[in-house]
Symmetry: none
Subunit: 533 residues, 2 copies
């Protein structure tokens, strides 16, 4: 089946305008390969005329064979009063090696007169000349009508004229851009109905999310005949981001029945999303539709019970269609069905009606009453479930912690506070006593522990553990009594992440519990792997 809508990814160009997002050339090549493998139709790689990094990217991409995606180079129409063939920016597109050029031109008379400071006629000539020049040099030319909707609202006739100029010069696709991201879906529909009655060239949509409507505007355009959708993975982009392909693709395919990527690609959507997160070094947005960790997470007991019997009662699609999965969150509403499902998720066999299950439930309730919280602390939860087994002690009790002391000090003579920890640990009958400095008390305790443990657990990757996040929350602050604090630690080893939790009136003790759980969990996982091998 031929695709009905073409997916044009601009993560590497417009997406890279996001605050905090910086791709190296190497990153960009990896993302391009992954996008190709995933199955988008176009990959906009950058603006070779604007910076040396993009020039290098296109140079490197000459050696990369894409399976089916077409590589596009981005640029603007020629400068005013310059021949297209002499415009350096257009030449850089023609020599980029990419088969497709995407150039943007001005739609909005305000921009032509005040920003470009040229005439309305010269702008039309700039569009026509530039498209015509590139059509001679490249396989395909896509024309981006910048500020199309704002321009149309200000001066509809002129906006249409700019499209007709690009069409006359032979543009293969006219893309209507909501550059400022402020358009509403019904406006997009109304304007497109008018425009599509005048132009004959296939058209596309390029939306931004400033009104939190980029996905809706893209779908509205498709409903009115757009055959190309521009967007980015995870919606990364300047200001509030571009239209999010990770929502548009499943909305089109699953909900509107419009083909764009294969079913197999759709099942890799979450993988694609996480890949870009990782290369961009940005934290995963867990609440992201379709691909987020929380997208199919259920908390309330009523929901959990119903969804385990009939998924569609509380799930709008089957999570596996987009490569995601259902998660049951453990909260104070936890019932037995939550625990059983959770155990299954973690790969543990806990039998319905077993004394073990009763033990786990009792323990969770007790700990939750004390203020523990297992959402986001799956590492601690798995340990808790294992500890409820009689067999656990002998197999996994790997070290016994005895004493710790941690001192933090600041003196007037030195503005930098120092922390020093001493730890006494018993491992397999041996008592180890050591000390370490740290940037803070938790860091010092962590360092001291990891000075001792690796020699007892060689090759188990204890040195690869990193503290990724550390959160503290006060639980009760009843007057006159000491407040309990809950510490949630997220750790990672470069491959995976796990959360652990500790609760105490003392923040150091709560942190220590979470820290020890994190290390024990890592040991547990490496032990598991060992047994499987």
């Amino acid at each position: 089946m031929k695709p009905t809508v073409l997916i044009y990814d601009t993560t590497l160009r417009d997406g890279a305008q996001a605050e905090d997002l910086n791709f190296s050339v190497e990153d960009k090549i990896r993302v391009a390969r992954k996008l190709d493998e995933f199955g988008v139709h176009y990959i906009e790689g950058g603006w070779p005329g604007s910076n040396p990094r993009d020039v290098e990217f296109f140079r490197e991409m000459r050696r990369v064979k894409l399976k089916r995606a077409k590589l596009a180079a981005f640029g603007s129409t020629r400068r005013a009063r310059l021949k297209a063939s002499e415009d350096p920016s257009l030449k850089s597109l023609a020599t980029s090696g990419a088969p497709v050029a995407t150039i943007f031109g001005k739609t909005w008379d305000l921009h032509v007169l005040k920003a470009l400071k040229t005439t309305l006629n010269e702008n039309l000539a700039m569009i026509e000349d530039s498209v015509a020049f590139l059509k001679e040099q490249m396989d395909e030319v896509i024309y981006d009508a910048e500020h199309f909707f704002d321009g149309y609202k200000a001066n509809p006739d002129y906006a249409i004229e700019t499209l007709l100029a690009a069409e006359a010069a032979g543009a293969d696709c006219l893309v209507l851009c909501d550059t400022n991201g402020g358009a509403l879906p019904h406006e997009v529909e109304e304007i497109i109905v008018r425009v599509s009655s005048i132009i004959g060239t296939p058209f596309g949509i390029h939306a931004h999310n400033d009104g939190e409507l980029a996905v809706a505007n893209s779908l509205a355009a498709v409903r009115r005949g757009a055959v190309m959708v521009h967007g980015t993975i995870n919606g990364y982009g300047e200001r509030c981001g571009n239209a999010n392909l990770c929502a548009i693709i499943p909305d089109l395919k699953i909900k509107m029945g419009i083909d764009c990527v294969t079913d197999a690609s759709l099942r890799r959507l979450r993988e694609m999303s996480r890949y870009v997160d990782e290369l961009a070094n940005l934290p995963h947005r867990k609440w992201s539709p379709f691909v987020g960790d929380s997208a199919f997470a259920h908390k309330g007991g009523v929901h959990v019970d119903a969804v385990s019997k009939i998924p569609r009662t509380y799930e709008h699609i089957i999570p596996e269609q987009v490569g995601n999965r259902r998660r049951i969150l453990i909260s104070d509403l936890a019932g037995k069905s939550n625990i059983l499902q959770k155990a299954a998720e973690l790969g543990l066999t806990v039998k319905k009606g077993s004394p073990e299950l009763a033990e786990i439930l009792k323990k969770i309730k007790q700990l939750e009453n004390e203020g523990y919280e297992f959402e986001g602390a799956e590492g601690s939860l798995e340990l808790l479930m294992l500890r409820a087994r009689h067999s656990y002690q002998s197999v996994f009790a790997m070290f016994d912690r005895i004493d710790y002391r941690v001192l933090t000090e600041k003196r007037k003579v030195d503005p930098h506070p120092v922390s020093e920890a001493t730890v006494t640990v018993e491992v397999g009958g041996q008592v180890e006593h050591t000390a370490a400095w740290g940037n803070g008390p938790i860091n010092a305790l962590d360092k001291a522990l990891r000075k001792v443990l690796p020699k007892y657990f060689p090759g188990r990757g204890l040195d690869t553990i990193r503290l990724l996040d550390y959160k503290v929350r006060v639980l009760t602050a009843a007057e006159g009594t000491a407040a309990r604090v809950r510490v949630l630690i997220e750790s990672g080893d470069g491959k995976s992440k796990w959360g652990t939790v500790g609760v105490s009136e003392n923040v150091i003790e709560a942190s220590w519990q979470a820290l020890v759980d994190s290390i024990e969990y890592k040991l547990l996982r490496t032990a598991k792997k060992g047994r499987k091998a």
Copy 2:
């Protein structure tokens, strides 16, 4: 002008279903007060029948006088084959003290038959009886038609019947819920056009974001006559979240010309958003439309140049309309007008163009670069502003802190960790050296400080200060470098509350900064009162 659309906030109920979001009763009361001040029409506080925390919230709220928002208690229709007057859940609504009850009932025949395991007729009776019972007991009853759109697609006639049952019993508003979040805007419009030709009662919309369409679905419903919009601040909620009021409110007001909150409230939208972030202890989503740090941030040179001359070239609205500001990412300039506004709020006179203002701005920029955050830490902000004055030193510099040491220790023989602090303080030329035990290191430091200070500041109420909340957040966790932490402390003296902030690589030092600010702030306020008296 009467509002055309009523804003119904469910941050405290449906929003609290978000993974990682846990509000204490105290948090909930603070959010409710802030929402009232901000100007939403309804505040859904919780589900008193489902958990003790919500029962306590409603009990506490009896003592809170809301200016104009109505408090709503949430619950479900009566159980099958039970009298409404004997249903414990309905009774808990009637006795909650809230003037408004919002109850949900089943629309979708699948849910009635398979989840509730009752008959279609009994479900209609459950809706009618429950609404009728609550109408006798409360000022207003809102009926939430759960799974309305999915139910309508499965069995339109039955879906309409459920609405008619609620209408017959006198419901004041019928809210159409897209519980699973999978509806598309054009479906919402089509279904509403049909429904609104049959029902006579005012209706509302309650959307979830599973297709990244919650805002669009809410706007579509309003275009077709909905007069109430349910949503949450920042779109917090289960799975992918609820409809985001921080986008819907400005979309309605600025773009669609529909009144809902005042212009003055709109200018406090960002403040409202950040307040909930801080109390929820969740990181700010900087790319959020309208309210995010990046929402009006410009990176590209072309954009920056154009936008500085004519803002609307690259900004869909004026950022100040929603209390946000433009940021130029290369040279970030903190808004002077924000500072002037804030100073006026705090009762300080800072003159436009004064060197004092320049000094404050410079200091804020520097501290924000280091990771300080003054939202929710107004105590520290006020101190910062005062410290920029030359006159401050002599009037308010009340004590000089010199050294501290804090030790936390746990030994195998005793499961309770102990913390001991020693503090050396100079007050008015006198050096004091003292020590104290505490439940944790911060508590020990606090106690040691307060052993010394009262004798120098008698009658200033230092003994009345209580630590109400203590939050820690990791700011950066770049590999190989130490993470900075930000500590936010909320203190109270029984009459009022104030927040202070500290930042350091060391959690003890960051806590110490916030603690000292808290005490200094208390002294400052009692000094002010003294002068006024």
